[in-house]
Symmetry: C2
Subunit: 404 residues, 2 copies
């Protein structure tokens, strides 16, 4: 038997129903916020990704050569391709340019300002998640604090991933190694863990940039509460993200039900345009883990809308087939999801099949019905049957399905 | 500047609007016919594609190795992956299994029974194409005719692509080379070009299989006309497709406006399950060229529905920002596509921007409006302005946009 490649998967009709539901709610929420969709290719020149993430990323990529010997790679992320697209074709568009994009990303051996934050939050609420945590941080403030502790570039690189993983013991040991006094280490750990803007303000040095960013954080907090109706978020200075190119406010959204892999979304402001050869312009964005969102909804036992068949038509005898097909076409023209037994398989088998495909109604068309210009309609939910004139069928089924 | 890989492209918001429109109509038409969506990975083991198409296909593939040294390839087509999926996980599902799938396919250096036919036709009509031609052929009949001409396997392989391209002069020369008598060559060429089932019946040998298939063709013709409302199709025995695995009825749909690359859709019944290790079961399907469908619509000057912004809000002074954001959130909750100037850029600049993003209405919120609990509404189509109480805004805009 032919195997599916390692790390990939197929999606059944039921799984696709869930995925398309989530995708459509996400896209629609983007549109209500005035965002427009773009799309880039599945693969890019390898150098596009190494320019952003360094050569180390090659080990995590699916890379290959085209017939002309150029190095290509399946995209591990979408930001670099969209930056390339922007520099190439979108630089002249009127600002602000509000774009969104959906797409599979490919990594080898890896499981896995206020309006923008509100949008990310509303997307995850709109798809139906009940329990999510929003955390807001600020990388410029973190940077000022790193300077206060007199850390070198290498020392920053070393403790950044420890902060990201909330490994406070290891942070403490590392700072001791870097000869930071014990009292300063304790203050720094409190700074990372507090949710109080006041405590953060008290700790942060009296520096123009830091004060400016603290003001921004306060404004974001007020706007989220008063203008976007979001109450339950926390300030957290332990949010790190990509310290090399993210700047200022950053945020993450978690679904606690997912345990260790609880992060669903991360984003903020970043500076990448000049790296790809364009003129720097303020950019911000976020990424949502699509598969994790589905798992979180399943874990919360969310009731996904089912994409059912509305009507399954059973022509009892061969002579009823033509009339059955006529009715099927009329229903389909009225946007009603319709299937029909084209094989004359007998009533028992057909009803069983109608049940496995979750048909809401079965239309039975036999000799008697044909003679009386009628259809026997069976409600598959309660098993009740009634006889209806064919001419009344369309308006009847529309009323049943709430279609105007 | 970083280049996009050769043979790929980016899609702007306008282009994505068209693509999503076509995709949604297509998906919806599938659903009204009772089909359900599945999805397979972007790449597969290389051997999956060589099993179906032979080693020659390797030259047309983007292939690469994973870190474990296994040969993978970006999918050049979707049938083999879905057959693998079927054999792996879907064999036990109740029949008939009606599936559809959308997905990019990757080829290197290449520009490119009656219900099924009706579905393909309705999909292309529903997206808005005015002028399409449906042609129906039959490969079993063609095969019987090849036997009548006493062609060897190699000879069949040689003339099949000539038939596919309607190169009648070359077919004639080839058959002369194969020592087919001149009179038989002329009869064969007429057979390929006639649209009359009667002429085809007269020519085809009196053979059970051929008679059976001729009957099927007649039934399909009648059903298309009487049950599916499709009048303008032609019978054409020159349709070849993949002669190795397609069987019986085949069809193609063309958009004449596209000239040499006019084929939009091709399909029929095929036998591939056993090749991938499963138990043979009747399968049929078709593929639609998504990009060509878009080009055909553009060539016919189709009026794509625009994904416009419904409302653009201009808070004139900084003091009006909070109220403006409140209104934006209310509109968004009511599923109205809303954008707002967060930069206080001045009226002239804002109105120009609203026009470039095709906003239908602009809501102006200044000191006077704030004092009177009102909004000035500007209709961007005719430039008319009116003052409206904030409390009436939601019901007013819903009525304007025909939202219930």
């Amino acid at each position: 038997m032919y195997q599916i490649p390692r790390g990939t998967r197929d999606f059944t009709p039921d799984e696709m129903g869930k995925r398309r539901y989530v995708e459509n709610v996400m896209k629609n929420t983007f549109k209500t916020f005035g965002y427009r969709e773009v799309q880039t290719p599945t693969f890019e020149h390898l150098e596009l990704f190494t320019a952003k993430s360094g050569d180390a990323v090659i080990d995590e990529l699916y890379s290959f050569q085209d017939k002309g010997g150029r190095d290509l790679a399946l995209r591990p992320e979408l930001t670099a391709p969209v930056m390339r697209f922007y520099v190439d074709k979108l630089q002249m568009e009127p600002k602000p340019l509000k774009l969104f994009y959906l797409g599979n990303c490919y990594r080898y051996d890896r499981p896995q300002k206020a309006e923008l934050i509100a949008l990310a939050y509303h997307i995850l609420r709109n798809v139906g998640l009940k329990n999510i945590n929003l955390k807001i941080g600020n990388l410029n403030i973190l940077s000022v604090v790193f300077d206060k502790l007199k850390l070198t570039q290498d020392q920053k690189r070393h403790i950044t991933p420890l902060i990201d993983k909330s490994m406070f013991g290891d942070i403490s040991l590392a700072l001791k190694d870097f000869n930071v006094p014990e009292i300063e280490i304790q203050e720094f750990l409190s700074f990372l863990q507090t949710g109080s803007i006041q405590e953060i303000t008290d700790y942060v040095p009296d520096n123009d940039e830091a004060l400016n960013e603290l003001n921004t954080m306060k404004q974001i907090s007020v706007l989220l509460k008063t203008s976007f109706g979001i109450e339950n978020f926390q300030i957290s200075m332990g949010i790190v993200r990509g310290l090399d190119y993210y700047k200022g406010p950053v945020f993450e959204i978690e679904a606690p039900c997912l345990g260790a892999e609880k992060q669903l979304c991360g984003g903020g402001a970043y500076e990448l345009i000049s790296l790809f050869g364009g003129r720097e312009s303020p950019t911000s964005g976020f990424a949502i883990g699509f598969d994790r969102t589905i798992v979180a909804l399943e874990t919360e036992e969310f009731n996904f809308p089912r994409s059912e068949i509305d009507v399954y038509i059973i022509p009892v005898q061969k002579e009823c087939m033509k009339k059955g097909l006529d009715i099927a076409q009329q229903l389909r023209k009225n946007n009603i999801k319709t299937d029909i037994d084209l094989l004359n398989r007998g009533m028992g088998k057909c009803l069983k099949y109608a049940s496995t495909i979750s048909a809401k109604f079965v239309f039975i068309l036999g000799e008697r019905e044909l003679k009386e210009d009628s259809i026997t309609i069976r409600n598959m939910e309660n098993g009740q049957q009634e006889l209806l004139k064919i001419n009344d069928v369309i308006s009847w089924i529309k009323a049943q399905l709430n279609i105007i």
